[in-house]
């Protein structure tokens, strides 16, 4: 099949050719995604194989009997399944949280405060003559980003690499830094200070900038500010270097302000480098349904958003949840140790195509079809563009949607609503 869609990273490349076993046009990570690998054979309860119906019935019982279940994951499934997850969290009086909460959620907080001067990857490809990668490393995390959308992309108005100035700012010289026209190495945790210095220079107040900020000399900062201001159409891509470092959401607020300042003299957009292929959907669908993107508690019957209480990590650390449904994610591999310890204490139901670290903790495991290969649906690319991912081969595995549809029906039946 031509024009298949790769369901790994936020690039959501839509030019894949797949013959049922081998894919073309894939990056190394995409190739691994499409390659055959170990699957779970059947649904299990405490390691015993059972039918889908039995596993789902037992899972629904656990969730209905929990005081405040945590429903977490969602970034690697389709919007149709995510919608059921949000409704399920509401019916159960539980917490809906998604992978952003260990990733780009500080960006959401910043955008609540500041808005986002956003655009699409198409604008980066077709128009950008200055491209900045700040605290992100697409060569390793989004391997086809440079060729499809940014560095080497041949766009309508900007025809290729030689017409673009590429800036990489990071605390270490990453593989992406080798694509740069200029690499700026800053000290870990100094992003906010460097943005502030750049804003001062762009605003005409370079006299307020000290001789060195965050490892960059004033001369270097002025050089970088000039590069930014000289761009006719600039795009700043940023990554977890901002959201995972000291300052977190404040770092993102400050880069938004830098982009706003640049927009007074030229045209700039800002784009977070989102990780999983539908992590944008995991936030957007929850926002349609409940008004918030993540860390949503339904225990009072209406949605409440409080990231310092209701993100999965915080709810686990505070022991504020007593069961967990984990869908299309692996928190045991990606949460701090203390949060994983709490996850190990409570009943865990997992829905995932592949055995992972969370499987080692899970009481009920429900294997699912691989989205984009064995199951279809709608996903949002990192810039919010909706794409319909396809079913490329038949499977015996149920899709996330089928599993959650039956689980929701069972929960409604058990609660007598």
């Amino acid at each position: 099949m031509k024009n298949a869609i790769c369901t790994f990273c936020g690039n959501v490349c839509d030019d894949i050719e797949f013959d049922g076993t081998v894919g073309k046009n894939l990056c190394p990570i995409g190739e691994a995604k499409f390659a055959a690998k170990r699957r779970m054979e059947a649904p299990t309860i405490e390691g015993e194989k059972v039918s889908y119906e039995e596993a789902i019935e037992r899972a629904a019982e656990i969730l209905v009997n929990a005081k405040r279940p945590l429903l977490y994951g969602w970034a690697s499934t389709v919007n149709e399944a995510i919608k059921l997850g949000v409704i399920l969290a509401e019916k159960l009086g539980g917490i809906y949280d998604q992978c952003s909460s260990v990733c780009h959620a500080p960006s959401t907080l910043a955008m609540i405060e500041e808005g986002i001067p956003g655009g699409t990857l198409g604008q980066a490809k077709n128009r950008a003559d200055v491209i900045v990668f700040w605290g992100c490393n697409p060569v390793e995390a989004h391997p086809r980003h440079p060729s499809r959308y940014s560095v080497m992309a041949r766009g309508f108005l900007t025809k290729g690499r030689q017409y673009r100035h590429i800036v990489v700012v990071d605390v270490r010289k990453t593989a992406t830094a080798y694509l740069a026209t200029e690499f700026y190495q800053i000290k870990p945790g100094y992003d906010f200070a460097v943005f502030t210095a750049l804003r001062s220079i762009v605003n005409g107040h370079e006299d307020a900038v000290p001789d060195e900020v965050g490892g960059l000399s004033k001369e270097k900062l002025k050089e970088l500010a000039d590069v930014l201001m000289d761009g006719k159409y600039g795009v700043i891509f940023y990554g977890l270097g901002l959201t995972h470092s000291r300052g977190q959401d404040r770092n993102v607020e400050c880069i938004v302000k830098l982009v706003q300042t640049l927009n007074r003299q030229t045209r700039y957009i800002l784009q977070p480098m989102r990780g999983h292929f539908n992590v944008v959907g995991a936030g957007a669908v929850a926002a349609w349904e409940a008004g918030y993107e993540y860390a949503i508690d339904f225990s009072r019957g209406y949605p409440r958003f409080s990231p310092s209480e209701f993100t999965a990590v915080e709810a686990l650390l505070r022991k504020d949840c007593d069961a967990a449904l984990i869908v299309a994610s692996d928190p045991a591999a990606h949460f701090p140790k203390k949060a994983v310890e709490r996850l190990a204490e409570i009943p865990v139901i997992q829905i995932d195509p592949h055995p992972n670290v969370t499987t080692l903790l899970a009481d009920i495991v429900i294997p699912s079809a691989i989205v984009g290969i064995e199951a279809e649906g709608t996903v949002y690319r990192m810039d919010g563009i909706p794409l319909r991912v396809k079913k490329l081969r038949e499977t015996e595995y149920w899709s996330d949607y089928q599993i959650l549809r039956l689980m929701l029906d069972k929960v409604i039946q058990m609660k007598g609503e």
């Binding site: 190394p28 691994a32 010289k173 995972h244 959401d249 310092s308 990606h334 701090p336 499987t359």
Partner: protein, 127 residues
């Protein structure tokens, strides 16, 4: 023992093995820490030797890997661990944002003879 700043992040190998987390390939992709060559010589380790990283949140044993790129290394005093269950032994709290600070954690690194645990064992200890 030297003081370091711990950063974590994605790598291509971590991404390629993400759907096979119970495999040796995944373990290999996430159970090391990149260090500056000079820091390695200060604590007396070579590539492939084991090091223990300690932070206020926990400790973990990893294989040391020299972070040498073409002309610029990982800065002295900074170590990089690929995201995953090993990095998570030493990462921290969220400071109110709800998102843990996975980068920029103060820690210490020393040479050790202790074993690097397999993923299953890290989780068995938890469970």
């Amino acid at each position: 023992m030297i003081e370091v700043i711990v950063i974590t992040g994605r790598t291509t190998d971590q991404g390629m093995t993400i759907d096979e987390k119970l495999s040796n390939d995944y373990m290999k992709a996430v159970c090391y820490c990149e260090m500056n060559e000079r820091d390695m010589s200060v604590i007396g380790v070579n590539e492939g030797d084991r090091v223990k990283i300690k932070t206020e949140f926990g400790e973990v044993v990893l294989y040391a890997k020299k972070a040498v790129t073409k002309d610029l290394e990982l800065p002295e005093g900074v170590v990089f661990i690929p995201m995953g269950p090993y990095a998570n032994q030493v990462v921290g709290k969220s400071n109110g944002s709800g998102t843990p600070q996975y980068k920029g954690i103060k820690g210490y690194v020393e040479a050790t003879q202790e074993d690097v645990k397999p993923v299953e064992e890290l989780i068995r200890v938890v469970k």
